[in-house]
């Protein structure tokens, strides 16, 4: 991989959970993303994937660990000042375009707001840039005069993407950008994100719970469980030869549009509470292959092949 534009090292996030208690939402997460590449971050609810994305771009502070963006360390002492210098090169696309667009703001102003905040764009340039951005995301120029509620969910997500592109970012965290969309809209938005990546050399952290969507978007994929990455590999390796029992189980239970397929029986149990984290491997209590030491000793994420890491004693 070429030099990463984004790297996370040992990221930890603790949230206070009552007196003298903390909830560790993210534990020791590390990864790199190169320019123009996508890391897919997949996991179930509470796996820590969104918290990781938010820490990465400074939306919430990390408890410990290090984040570097475009060569600047943005965590630790003086991190905020360095984050400010790279802020324009980062963006975030949210799951719910309804919650992230102001209903009283015309599309023109929603898209141009980042330009206005930056404050060095002339009026004529602003209109031209809005038209250009609408065109990039496949919306008619006339959309500029309309309000968010006049658009469908898929179109609103296009508006959210246009807004994210306004300052010509190089890296975008996409947090479940297609999860709220119907299948026919989802495919359009996935293709749009891929087209924009090709055109502008964008790097993405693509957060999603849908393994098939993640496969279509990503070059590399990290699987999170209970706050930690349990497996990370190229998409070819991860989908063709998953090593961690959790990744294998996830792939086994995804419903597929094939009535003749016999799905494997569901994995028993549920994700453990982050407040009562079990000792050892967090997945051991649900793992069909768990041994005694899995319940005692926490497995480290280690290399099992070139570019393929898994956190499991048994692989």
């Amino acid at each position: 991989m070429s030099a990463p534009i984004v790297s996370a090292r040992g990221l930890v996030k603790d949230f206070p959970a009552g007196p003298d208690r903390t909830l560790r939402a993210v534990d020791n997460v590390s990864f790199d993303i190169a320019a123009g590449e996508t890391l897919g971050l997949v996991g179930e609810s509470g796996s820590g994937k969104s918290t990781t994305g938010r820490m990465l771009v400074g939306l919430i502070p990390a408890t410990s660990g290090e984040v570097s963006l475009f060569g600047q360390t943005v965590t630790g002492r003086g991190g905020d000042a360095r984050l400010a210098t790279v802020r324009n090169r980062l963006q975030f696309v949210f799951q719910d375009p309804n919650g992230s667009l102001n209903p009283r703001m015309r599309v023109r102003d929603a898209i141009a707001e980042p330009l206005d905040i930056k404050g060095d764009v002339a009026r004529a340039d602003r209109a031209a840039r809005v038209a250009e951005l609408l065109d990039m995301v496949g919306l008619p120029a006339a959309s500029a005069d309309r309000y968010p509620h006049e658009f469908s969910g898929g179109q609103r997500q296009r508006i959210g993407i246009a807004r994210a592109l306004a300052l010509r970012p190089e890296f975008i965290v996409c947090d479940e950008p297609v999860s709220a969309l119907d299948v026919s809209m989802q495919a359009q938005i996935v293709n749009l994100l891929l087209d924009l990546q090709e055109r502008f050399g964008l790097g993405y952290l693509f957060i999603a719970h849908d393994l098939a969507v993640v496969r279509s978007m990503s070059r590399n994929v990290a699987v999170m469980y209970a706050g930690s990455i349990v497996e990370i590999a190229s998409r070819q390796a991860l989908y063709a030869a998953p090593q961690h029992p959790y990744t294998q189980a996830l792939l086994d239970v995804v419903p597929r549009p094939d009535p003749d397929r016999v799905r494997k029986p569901a994995l028993a149990g549920e994700v453990p509470s982050m407040l009562n984290r079990p000792a050892g491997c967090a997945f051991a209590m649900r793992c069909p292959r768990a041994e005694a030491r899995c319940r005692v000793e926490t497995p480290a994420l280690r290399d099992i092949a070139a570019g393929h890491r898994a956190a499991c004693h048994l692989v």
């Binding site: 299948v183 026919s184 279509s216 989908y239 996830l250 792939l251 419903p255 549009p257 094939d258 569901a266």
Partner: protein, 328 residues
């Protein structure tokens, strides 16, 4: 098929809006036999949930009208049934579970209270007997430590556990028909698999018919024996599951299947259906799908096509495809 358990014919449902009466479901029809499983699949606004709510008479009478249709269940038309009789059927013979168990459960009542309510109402049990039955029902939906969990409040349970409680309430009176509206959509994929396995086991144990409503063709393929595909309020295709997934006959069904991202191989781009899902208020002349259809001809935009037979128990609403299959 012998006399079906449920037969819906020519059902049209309209809602009152500021802009007049809006047609949410138009001429929907299907039959469901005892112990059969029907899947209804469609995207937002397709009318799949509205169809299900109509079976149970759950639309607000003041803002809803049903200009045409009949819903025959056990020899009676549910649309003509007085409220009292409908209340006996609802929750007794026909039960329903919804997408979000948190908003369907009462947050200030324990699990025992909520399951008991159904039993006391429909079967006249006293509180103590109902409570014991509630524990038995939690066992049936595979909740471990049922005698203890029965006193929990909804917020003390995980999403998957809450959906199990909803299922326990739904099966409390041993319904003949269970309508499951997106029962796993809010759940994680490993929990979704557990709930689908549970529903399948309970269906066999109790001999229920099931209508499963989902936007997820994967869930439908796994669960349903027969499938209706709905688009903009109409059934565009109806077929046995295998035929539908192997030889889809409506361009919308084909487009939807192609748009699902593959899990087993890489693609550079996904296949898409152009355009957007139509706004429910918009009146589309001819075939509702024609503005997005790559195969549409002039006739498609002018005349609304009928649902016609295209194979063994297989129906589709697409004249161009039918002509191609059977040249005139």
């Amino acid at each position: 098929m012998s006399a079906p358990l449920l037969s819906v014919r020519d059902l049209t449902v309209q809602f009152r809006t500021d802009a007049g009466w809006l047609t949410a479901v138009e001429q929907v029809g299907f039959e469901l036999g005892a112990q059969e499983t029907l899947g209804i699949v469609g995207e937002s606004g397709s009318g799949k949930s509205v169809t299900a709510l109509s079976i149970l008479g759950l639309h607000a009478a003041s803002t809803t009208r049903i200009p045409t249709g009949a819903i025959a269940y056990a020899g009676q038309d549910l649309l003509k049934l007085p409220d009292r009789a409908m209340r006996r059927i609802r929750g007794g013979e026909i039960a329903m579970i919804f997408q979000d168990p948190m908003s369907s459960l009462n947050p200030v009542l324990t699990v025992a209270d909520q399951i008991s309510e159904t039993l006391m109402l429909h079967q006249g049990l006293d509180r103590k007997t109902a409570r014991n039955r509630a524990i038995g029902l939690l066992d049936m939906v595979r909740i471990a430590d049922a005698a203890h969990r029965v006193d929990a409040y909804p917020h003390q349970l995980s999403g998957g556990m809450r959906q199990r409680v909803m299922i326990a309430i739904a099966i409390a009176c041993r319904p003949k028909l269970l309508i499951a509206d997106e029962p796993t959509t809010a759940l994680d994929v490993t929990i979704q698999a557990q709930i689908l396995d549970l529903l399948r086991e309970l269906q066999t144990e109790l001999g229920m018919s099931v209508i499963l409503i989902s936007h997820d063709l994967g869930v439908i393929a796994e669960f349903a024996r027969r499938v209706l595909v709905m688009y903009a309020g109409r059934v565009v295709e109806a077929a046995p599951s295998r035929a539908l997934f192997r030889q889809p006959m409506h361009p919308y069904t084909s487009g939807l299947l192609a748009a699902i991202p593959p899990l087993n191989h890489d693609v550079t781009r996904l296949s898409t259906i152009p355009g957007s899902i139509p706004d429910p208020g918009r009146r589309i002349p001819g075939c509702r799908f024609s503005p997005r259809c790559t195969e549409a001809q002039t006739e498609c935009r002018e005349q609304a096509p009928d649902l016609v037979s295209v194979g063994d128990d297989h129906f589709a609403r697409c004249p161009p495809r039918l002509h191609r299959m059977r040249p005139v």
